[in-house]
Symmetry: D3
């Protein structure tokens, strides 16, 4: 099991993500609108939290610089809202590993993104091509 560092999701992150993705859905960009929804305030884009969870993984000592390819993701679920000021971290559990010769392997992770209260906010299963650390052959 791997656990990443945490990161606080800021209003600036949501504003930047709206601008970068082009998703200006009012639940993310209009506080007056969001106040009248069951959430009561603006929430982060699900794809932002998913993207941050990948970034946090690449910053882990154990995984960083060993990722050769990102095959895909399954059962990506946005289970709980993430609000401005929430802090997320990622817990990854290996659920399957397949050797591809001596230096590489395909690893499937069960990934959970948790907020500061330990509640799972995003969950998914991701498959990556990793190289063994120390393998100097980049790709």
């Amino acid at each position: 099991m791997f656990e990443t560092r945490g990161r606080t999701i800021t209003e600036a992150d949501i504003v930047s993500f709206a601008g970068l993705s082009g998703d200006f859905i009012e639940l993310h960009t209009n506080e007056e609108f969001a106040m009248k929804t069951p959430y009561g305030k603006r929430i982060a884009h699900g794809a932002l939290i998913f993207s941050v969870s990948i970034g946090l993984m690449t910053q882990m000592n154990t995984i960083a610089d060993t990722v050769l390819a990102f095959y895909g993701v399954d059962k990506l679920r946005f289970t709980k809202p993430v609000f401005i000021g929430d802090t997320v971290r990622v817990v990854k559990k290996v659920v399957e590993g397949k050797e591809l010769g001596p230096a590489r392997g395909v690893v499937t992770f069960e990934t959970n993104v948790l907020n500061q209260n330990g509640v799972v906010v995003v969950a998914y299963r991701d498959k990556l091509l990793l190289k063994r650390r120390g393998d100097s052959n980049a790709a």
Copy 2:
């Protein structure tokens, strides 16, 4: 079937996405490194193209402002690299629809992101809670 407008993926998008997600994997941020990989040059983050595909969907006349919730994504696959300067657009096909009363429904789409040559670069199946256009009850 719905088709979104297109968007050119720029170097600035990749740089911004690295900074926003925290994913500085060299295949996205180091041209010298990328030159020595089979890709031959930097490629866009898969999660960036996924994020842009959601943004493009929200800009469609037919869907914009009808999205009430984003349940999840399955079989998200990064099938081909997206390079700086490629232009992507999104094609969505309804594969399942379930009515939730008179004004809402859960719709499952088969989504393909294509580049300027019509090649699928990202594919996924997404499930959304949509409201009927004209329904004034926001959430």
Copy 3:
């Protein structure tokens, strides 16, 4: 009459706009300075609100993808300050329309940007070249 969705103007928007435009006038960037002005706190750049009002218009179902050219703007007035956290929306009224053949027309709008209290914060008159929806001839 058209009305756009709303958007909350955040501190991040003002910071980004200062950096993008290069306008670091202290009323926008220095809270200590702004506290001593009649406004009492930092205010958004007028040109930011003007720019956001155009963005909001392009996100309207009725207008998006029909804009062929933006001729100009008259009587652009910054009537009231917009503060961090205010939510603006745009109301556009056609004041003049001229057909340019069967598929295009020049439309002049009276545009008002309102905050969450219904107060006009920016007003202008803008002239656009629009195509009829369904016209497949892009430009």
Copy 4:
């Protein structure tokens, strides 16, 4: 007559402005689309050039820190396209000045934004409340 420094309009500026304003009109964001228009390639948003022209003005030694209020703009015209890589600068001519006591005045400028070939790309008439340099009374 005042002349500002110049600034090269980059692809990154256009991408940032699309994200900040929310204006993703394809002429600014889709190179494939833009290739088929009379422009032949993506062009900068008119409101970006207008915004940059204000930023350049605030960076002038003669005007910076003397701007107390921005009253409004008239006859804003987007006369020529600005392409990626073009360099713009601003020329301002006082066309009217009104004293408001000993330390302040309302000044109307005829403003032209020129590209590297000396062609006017944006033009407008703007009215500002300026204080005399050396006036320590901030607002």
Copy 5:
């Protein structure tokens, strides 16, 4: 002695700087983590304040557009934390000047960055190649 305008350091600045520099050290990006450090909350990156201090200098009437080269910096010290919402300004004192012909000179400054309470938060000694104002020969 020169004193620049002030600038409020926002959460958006810290988020942008983390993304631009790639420094996601948790003291800058994780509020939960920072709460348990002696600082009690997130602090700005030292290099952000250093960078802003150079930007503020270039916006001074007396120095802007006279900087020909930036030789180097000595004794750069991050003496006190800068928190979100603090407002910094820069005070520069000439400590050495060397003429390089009639139009240029190398100037060494003792530079202090102060917060809104007058406390020095960053200090350094910087050496610049400046031209005399009015010298039309750009470089």
Copy 6:
């Protein structure tokens, strides 16, 4: 000796850094101006390369998450220009180490930032408070 990954410095990085720092000196932002200087084209801000070098250090497996405090920098020199498209990496050599009890130490590095041709573009000496890896006591 430690060596970081590399990072390509893009036009988008320079544009973002100008906006974040407020340093719009024309050598960084005006291609027409820069063409007439001895550099022949726009160069990156020295403080941008310095900031990126810190970011690259924090992404190293050996150092990331062990930085407790950044004391200061000496002899920071901008020895060669960095152009758009150059790729920089950082080499750090310990020149002094002082134990502060069993779990912490102050380390002084001789740091060189090199471009893709192995030329030193920025050099400095930096002093950091580091904790031993495995020390669970955050600060």
